[in-house]
Symmetry: D2
Subunit: 302 residues, 4 copies
Amino acid sequence: MPLSPEHRAEIEAARATPRQTLRAVSEGMEAHLYRAHEVLDHGFVRVIDYMGDDAAIVQAARVSYGAGTKHVSNDEGLIRYLMRHWHSTPFEMCEVKLHVKLPVFVARQWIRHRTANVNEYSARYSILDREFYIPEPAQLAAQSKVNNQGRGAVLEGAEAARVLAMLKSDAAQMYDHYEEMLSQEDQQGLARELARMNLPMNIYTQWYWKTDLHNLFHFLRLRADAHAQYEIRVYAEAIARVVADWVPLAHAAFEDYRMGGTALSAKGVAVLKRRLAGEAVGYEQSGMSKGEWREFEAVWGA
Amino acid sequence: MPLSPEHRAEIEAARATPRQTLRAVSEGMEAHLYRAHEVLDHGFVRVIDYMGDDAAIVQAARVSYGAGTKHVSNDEGLIRYLMRHWHSTPFEMCEVKLHVKLPVFVARQWIRHRTANVNEYSARYSILDREFYIPEPAQLAAQSKVNNQGRGAVLEGAEAARVLAMLKSDAAQMYDHYEEMLSQEDQQGLARELARMNLPMNIYTQWYWKTDLHNLFHFLRLRADAHAQYEIRVYAEAIARVVADWVPLAHAAFEDYRMGGTALSAKGVAVLKRRLAGEAVGYEQSGMSKGEWREFEAVWGA
Amino acid sequence: MPLSPEHRAEIEAARATPRQTLRAVSEGMEAHLYRAHEVLDHGFVRVIDYMGDDAAIVQAARVSYGAGTKHVSNDEGLIRYLMRHWHSTPFEMCEVKLHVKLPVFVARQWIRHRTANVNEYSARYSILDREFYIPEPAQLAAQSKVNNQGRGAVLEGAEAARVLAMLKSDAAQMYDHYEEMLSQEDQQGLARELARMNLPMNIYTQWYWKTDLHNLFHFLRLRADAHAQYEIRVYAEAIARVVADWVPLAHAAFEDYRMGGTALSAKGVAVLKRRLAGEAVGYEQSGMSKGEWREFEAVWGA
Amino acid sequence: MPLSPEHRAEIEAARATPRQTLRAVSEGMEAHLYRAHEVLDHGFVRVIDYMGDDAAIVQAARVSYGAGTKHVSNDEGLIRYLMRHWHSTPFEMCEVKLHVKLPVFVARQWIRHRTANVNEYSARYSILDREFYIPEPAQLAAQSKVNNQGRGAVLEGAEAARVLAMLKSDAAQMYDHYEEMLSQEDQQGLARELARMNLPMNIYTQWYWKTDLHNLFHFLRLRADAHAQYEIRVYAEAIARVVADWVPLAHAAFEDYRMGGTALSAKGVAVLKRRLAGEAVGYEQSGMSKGEWREFEAVWGA
């Protein structure tokens, strides 16, 4: 339960005083503002601010295409057209600012998405809290035998217990030592910028993260994907639910064209065309490598 | 007079229906929303949307620095500290979206600022309007004798008259030909994406341009500078006035540290220190090149 | 014929003096260095410098994946895997710097690709040459009846002749006036930064353009596409031929997965699966809009 | 001693086989290629590739300014002019690719510089080595009393001994546990992407990092600065020494205008002018805040 009563009171206070604006307003997003969506054991995602809505995407596209776009009968059709044809700039006209609390090892994956603005809590300047990510038993998975960067079966029995105990006691001990290095009676106290290096990467950090909708969709495509690590995927999924309320038309197009769709290589197109013409085409006839075939087969059958 | 009565009515309608929001609101910016600030003979700058205010900059900085920043007594002091120390990320937490109408040759300078989102009117898709930038007589300047990219004295008499007449008649003729190429009785009509190439670069285009406050300040520093070309500088100045109402504390810090300040090289520091110690230090003793000395002298005297 | 004998001699001189380096060398790219690939009537693309080769992509990927990647049997397989899974960072480890001469209206499309470094010839500082793009008769196309941003049939007879004559005489006249405004006996001469605004957008400019291979592939995907405007597509095609010699494995993967492949929406996948199962599925059963169906049908049949 | 004999042999082999190229070559940089510059106890910086040299900066600038730049007598003068006037694009025409081994907490500061390409060793995919940063006794500093993000006096005696012992034993224990979680007899073995979260942030990682010279100078200005954390500053200093050999003219201009220079606010300019005119101006007369005055005084005296 990551939120203290004080924190909840603070959020409710922020939500209690609406103000007037002439800007585009997304009612779906207003309902999310400031509220913490809990993720993992101590993390959260909160919407701090946003700019634009579905209509803002359409408006920007019509600036580009001028009167010519008027024949597209409605906003939904235009948004789907833009998504289908990779016209990314109208989606860049929406922006969102999130407050995220997340384990450091998740933050290190996340920051690889460079087209975003970030203000992270500074452990040079301030002292980190005693909060560590400890996986649920259901997430304590073995190394995958087939995928070098994936998980296999869930650990059980003594092995699971031993791993959990280690994670817990190590985190506690490292934080104790962090505190002892920082200050103790009759000591000078190690500089915070040094003491932090003793902390493990499941400690929580937090940041403000701001990005535009196009880059957010790119983030979601990679991180809400089934191959993403579970611990970042749950953040992506929480954000995706928010986006569905913020820009429902754009989100539906994203689901259809990106998350639910698939890409075919020239070889893949050729195989499907031959199959549609009635030919039995398998791995040997495909011209694909084993890896490619495995992925093709997963969607289209052997 | 760039705005038609219809356009004015459209703006007033957009301003007539405030809505409620829980987001940060800048009253100074609300007063600007949608209104067109006229620039040059047919251009304008309009604020379409914004995110954040002075408090949002402070809020982001306090996420980074944690409890440690509480000793900075007030928001103004913190914002000035951030500006002075080139801590740019809190300023990136504010965002603005502008609708700008501008001549093509100005747009070509402007677009060199790459950290921004742009949706420009497409002349492949739609037909450009018959609107060209024709300078005021006071802006019809000769080539500078001393600066390869600057202006000298204002043209006068017959030369001024002849140049103005040329600009006007050429623009009219080119637009006539543009129209004739696009369509005429018994003709197929040249593709718009081809016909546009006959238009001169003082024709007006328009775009939505979205950027964050840090990058906007960088744009203003270069383009509101006395050395910038007049025709882009007037846009920068119009934007700067809007920014002053949007984030007054950040804008004041920007004025003090960037626009009103100056940078000194190691050599410049050395010269000033010697002068402060009572020594007469001129060009010969400075170790600077002629160009450097000219710029140093302009601020600090010979 | 864009290159003067002097220019050719300069290029040959630059090519005459190889030096020693310890860096990665692409023999295919060395053959292109400095040579001008002629594009349109006065344009060109020249490789000025490059960093990396196919092996550099593999090397960067192996840094990321460590010993684990050793089981991928060869470089080609790894490069294809990276391309298939949108692992873009290894491709970013290659960089190319081009010198391009191009009409201004093409440059305005090109610059929309923001993740690149650009140094353009300055018409504030210097005087532009008298060189304009005049289309070949085969490129003088009518506006498309079905596509708002495309071309239809080639113009013929009197219309073609009249359009060509206009383009030629207008360019000549505008350049004459440009020169007359810049300087004439007994005149001060208009500032270059002002006089340039009278020039039409088919005048040639030039720039150094530097980007990484990932972003270059993105540029090629959009600009070497059949829907891109012909006048930028020929530049993209010239660059694509250079890339094929520079990084042949990466280029082949790009051709297979991006240029020759296709994307399917969730709806498109569903239609194909039903067809593969023997069902006749047409527009009415597809759940697609007319536009989507038209594009789907173009690849997969009605 | 970070480099094994095998690693040294590999580097010497890579350096043993020069090849011919027509590209710009920097002799100063060739001498650095592949060699590891040792940093901290197990880290290093190695140049893997580079593009351009001082002449390439000049060449790009001359494309922009055309014939007009010929009056600048020499390359050094032009490079200093570009640096002085913040003309950043010619510096972007040079690129460098580094292989860096560094502690995770340093990597987390470094990655905040977003305009760069990065391929980091993946701890999802592969197993990290048992290498941790343990500070030299001289770097084991107390928290600064005056600067929230800085260091004070060096720890001594029992406190220093205790801190060092903790850092060492914690690192050893955490790595032991990491190995035990990954695999042990009769165990399935925890997924690598999970086990890594138990490792402290002084463990070493490595990456390929590629950026252009303009952004590299920006990185050096912030990270080679006296206020940067020591552990990242030593990397910046190692890189700065390499840059001095790569592009000596650009590096000298950077030293003079950025590292050795200073910025003055409008208030600072006013104070200095009054002092130069003979007036005694102190804090009370300056109009500055206490913090600003402290920084001003450090350069210019009370």
